[in-house]
């Protein structure tokens, strides 16, 4: 069951993501971003990386966190499948990412995401949990 849906944006791709908790929202957002990039079922021999990221507020933190995860692929050719949030405060996130190095024979790439934007960005607490919106430049 996917924890996100695509939003209509004329030029780019936006997603709306849900999570029972704020931590789950952050984890689901990074996993959703990689679901846009690659067929996640092809990532099956995972190792781990821990990242610690800072931000001015929740929204900025989310963008910075997604930026870092995106760089792991765009810069280091490493694909993320799963995310576990180890710590989440107002200004910092520590997360354990599970994934593996990109292999063109093994992994089916779906979309190039150029960047994570601040445009239309939101994180909200709802009656049923947390909801976030992010727009990517594709």
């Amino acid at each position: 069951m996917k924890s996100y849906k695509l939003l209509n944006h004329t030029a780019d791709i936006g997603i709306e993501v849900w999570g029972k908790t704020k931590k789950e929202l952050f984890a689901n957002t990074v996993e959703s971003m990689f679901d846009l990039i690659v067929d996640l079922t092809g990532i099956n021999n995972v190792n781990e990386k821990v990242v610690a990221i800072k931000g001015a507020d929740a929204e900025d933190l989310l963008v910075n966190f997604l930026r870092e995860a995106l760089y792991l692929f765009n810069g280091k050719r490493w694909l993320v499948k799963k995310c576990k949030i180890l710590e989440l405060t107002a200004g910092q996130i520590v997360a354990q990412l599970q994934g593996e190095p990109y292999d063109s024979d093994k992994h089916q790439l779906k979309k190039e995401i150029k960047a994570v934007t601040y445009h239309g960005l939101s994180i909200k607490k709802t009656a049923r949990g947390w909801k976030g919106k992010v727009i990517f430049d594709v």
């Binding site: 780019d12 810069g75 790439l109 779906k110 934007t117 601040y118």
Partner: protein
């Protein structure tokens, strides 16, 4: 849905009145037909948002291909005072110096129509495209520094082209002020393997035929004639450019509070032009621009080689020469007449093309009597237009015109409506052979997802900003 009320100025322009904290009004180039398409779009609000930025001069402008972007609208043009104004990485875009390059040949469609399929296959096989593609040139650290500071000039020196190619490139393919010390290690890393790659999404390489000539004198100056085979390349600065934009955007967002600039959208984060941060971004952005020019120069060089090999023709016989290369995502320091006085401004073109008129210093000698070629690519089925810059562009749009058709349908919508259809077969029926590494991209980029290019170009033509020179019809297209 935007609640902003627009007032019609004339057949081709709408006024977005100055309200609230807007520092200037907005002007949108649109006739009634295009205005109807704009109504459901967020781009009008984005034109108003840009008008909030400090030091903006005259108007926040939108070209007729305007559509909803992030921060600035795509198709947005805004100029800023060098003392009181700002530079915004989001106002240039992630793909710094994304642009187009048009190559003329001595070939006529009639002579090679049976070879189009061979040529397309060879181009598709040898020009790296698609998500995650890497190029054939692996750069050493020293070479990469040269690419960033010398752009297409480096490429020509390294044997990937001719000196005359540089004369037909905006800024001669090398933007001044580039300093690679202001480019991050991450950006450099991403740039190492992608030189000479097309990329994905809306980037393409097309074989086109000159279908119609509107302005004989300009067409002759540009070396274009009816029935001629030409090649259009659309690509940019790849991961290196995206990373430069992202690095500086993050930096500027972090310092927004101390600059005390109130922003309606964080994506508009910016720095004053007369600060170190602003200047460092311009120096890094110029590196991104130069990488893109070197990239398109390499793509052209490979295209030349592939044509020579496939058709077994000598370079002289083929006569592949660069008509022009323009960027459409950039910030540049240029001079314009403001209230009767010449003034240097920082012009942001986010999805807009420079369109300088006859006689302008920046127009190559061979085009000086007619004006600068303005290259407008359309969707895969339509092909492209070549326009020529007019004096009115200097008066009204800071020397800028539109850059394409502009999307009208989102990517998700396009994917939905193309369900169960074969876009490549539909295009084949229209005489366009398409090879793409991703079927998803083809769906997203289907012709219906874009505005009618003719309508967009007509607005520029009738407004007198850039005049129609030639219409090009695509016969083959390779995409990522």
């Amino acid at each position: 849905m935007s609640e902003i009320k627009l007032e019609r100025i004339d057949d081709n322009r709408l006024l977005l009145p100055q309200t609230g904290k807007m520092k200037v009004p907005g002007i949108i180039y649109a006739n009634e037909k295009i205005y109807q398409l704009l109504k459901g779009d967020e781009s009008t609000k984005q034109v108003a948002n840009v008008a909030h930025l400090p030091g903006i001069v005259n108007y926040s402008l939108a070209m007729p291909d305007v559509h909803w972007g992030y921060g600035f609208p795509i198709g947005g043009v805004a100029a800023f005072d060098l003392e009181s104004g700002i530079v915004s990485p989001g106002g240039v875009g992630y793909d710094i110096n994304c642009g187009c390059r048009l190559i003329a040949t001595n070939l006529s469609f009639a002579d090679v129509k049976d070879r189009i399929s061979d040529l397309t296959t060879a181009l598709y096989q040898h020009i790296p495209s698609g998500v995650g593609s890497t190029g054939s040139v692996k750069l050493s650290g020293k070479d990469q520094k040269k690419v960033l500071e010398e752009g297409a000039k480096w490429a020509v020196k390294a044997g990937f082209g001719l000196t005359e190619d540089l004369e037909a490139t905006e800024d001669s393919g090398a933007m001044t002020g580039a300093d690679s010390d202001h480019v991050s290690a991450r950006a450099l890393e991403r740039g190492k393997q992608q030189l000479g790659t097309l990329g994905s999404g809306n980037h393409f390489l097309e074989i086109e035929v000159v279908q119609e000539i509107f302005d004989e004198a300009a067409a002759q100056a540009f070396g274009l004639r009816k029935g001629q085979i030409v090649i259009m390349i659309h690509s940019g600065s790849r991961g290196l450019g995206y990373q430069i934009c992202d690095d500086y955007l993050a930096l500027m967002v972090k310092h927004m509070q101390e600059t005390k600039i109130e922003l309606p959208d964080r994506q508009l984060a910016c720095a004053y032009l007369n600060t170190t941060r602003g200047q460092n971004y311009l120096a890094a952005m110029a590196c991104g621009a130069n990488y893109a020019w070197a990239n398109r120069q390499l793509l052209m060089h490979h295209t030349r080689e592939i044509f020579e090999k496939t058709l077994r023709m000598a370079p002289r016989e083929l006569g592949m020469r660069l008509v022009y290369d323009v960027c459409h995502n950039i910030a540049k320091i240029e001079e314009f007449k403001i209230q009767g006085k010449m003034k240097k401004l920082c012009v942001h073109r986010k999805g807009a093309t420079r369109a300088f008129p006859a006689g302008h210093d920046a127009v190559p000698e061979r085009y000086k009597s007619v004006g600068q070629p303005v290259l407008i690519p359309g969707d895969m089925g339509t092909g492209s237009f070549v326009l020529v810059g007019q004096e009115k562009a200097m008066e009204e749009t800071f020397g800028s015109a539109c850059h394409g058709a502009g999307r009208v349908m989102s990517r998700t919508q396009a994917t939905k409506v193309s369900q169960g259809r074969s876009i490549s077969r539909e295009l084949a029926d229209q005489g366009v052979l398409v090879m793409a590494s991703s079927k998803g991209t083809l769906r997203e980029e289907m012709p219906e997802a874009y505005k009618n290019l003719q309508d967009v170009v007509q607005v520029m033509h009738e407004a007198g900003i850039a005049k129609k020179v030639a219409r090009l019809k695509a016969v083959a297209c390779i995409k990522g």
